[in-house]
Amino acid sequence: MTAQMFFIGFFGLAGVWFGIVVFRTYSMVRSALALLFSQTALGAMFLSMQAEFLGVLQIMMMATEMSIMAIFMVMFMMDPGGLGEMDMTHQKRLSLGVGITAFVSAVAVAVFVDWGPLATTAPDAVQQTADLGLELLGRSMLIFETAGVTILTAMIAATAVAIQPVKKASCHES
C-alpha cells in the first residue's frame, strides 16, 4: 500500500511540476520536452496504479505526440529558442484565478466526498487486457465504431484543411 501511495504521489507531483514548467519556460523546445516528461510521468502513474495497458499506451502515444508537437512548435513559434525572453501571455491574472478556482473546487470535491471503501486488489495485467478486449468488442462496440469513424473524419478534415490549394496559372475550371 504505502509503496503504491508513494509512487502515485511521486509521479503525480512530477507530472504537475513538469506541467508548470511547460508554461514557465521561454524556450519552446523545452516546453515541448517538459510536456513530454509530464505525460510520461502520468503514464508511470498509471503503471503504479496497476493499469498496465493504459500506462504503456500513454507513454507510447505521448512520446510520439510530443515529438510531433516539438516539430510544430519549431515551425510556428516566433522564438523557438527562447533567447529573446518575451512574455507571450495575456490575461494572466484572470487565468490564474480561474485555474486556482478550478483546482480548489476539484480538491474540495475529492476531499469532502465519501467515496466508500476502496478496492484493495486489481485484476492482473493479462486479465485486464482480456476484459478490456471483451468489453471493446462486446458492449462498447458501437462506441468504438463511432470513434473510428470520427477519427477517419478528423483525418480527412485535417488533410483537407492542411492541403495547400494548387495554384493553376491559366485556370478556367471551378
Partner: protein, 103 residues
Amino acid sequence: MSPELIIALISGAALFGVGIYGALSQTNLVMIMMGIELILAGAMVNLVAFWRYLHPDVAAGQMFVLIIMTVMAIEMAVGFAVAIARFRAIGSVEMEEATELKG
C-alpha cells in the same frame, strides 16, 4: 481509508488547474493546445484512479480512458491542421491577431 485515491485525485485536480491556466494565458495556438493536453491528462488520471480504487473489475473504466486518448489524438490532428492553414494565410499563429470574428 487509504489516501491513494485522494492523492491521485489531487494530482488530477492540479493538472487540470495548470492546464486551464495555460489554455487561458498563452497567446500561441500551439501553447494553448498544450494546455488542453494537460486538462485532458488530468481527467485521465482521475478516471484511472476511480477505476482502480472503486471499480477495478469493471473494464468500462479503462475504456473511458481509451476514448479520452482518442479524443486527444483527434484534437491534436485537427488543431495542427488548422494551425498550418492559419500560418500559411497570415504568417503566424498568434491568437491575439485572430479578430476576424469580432462582432
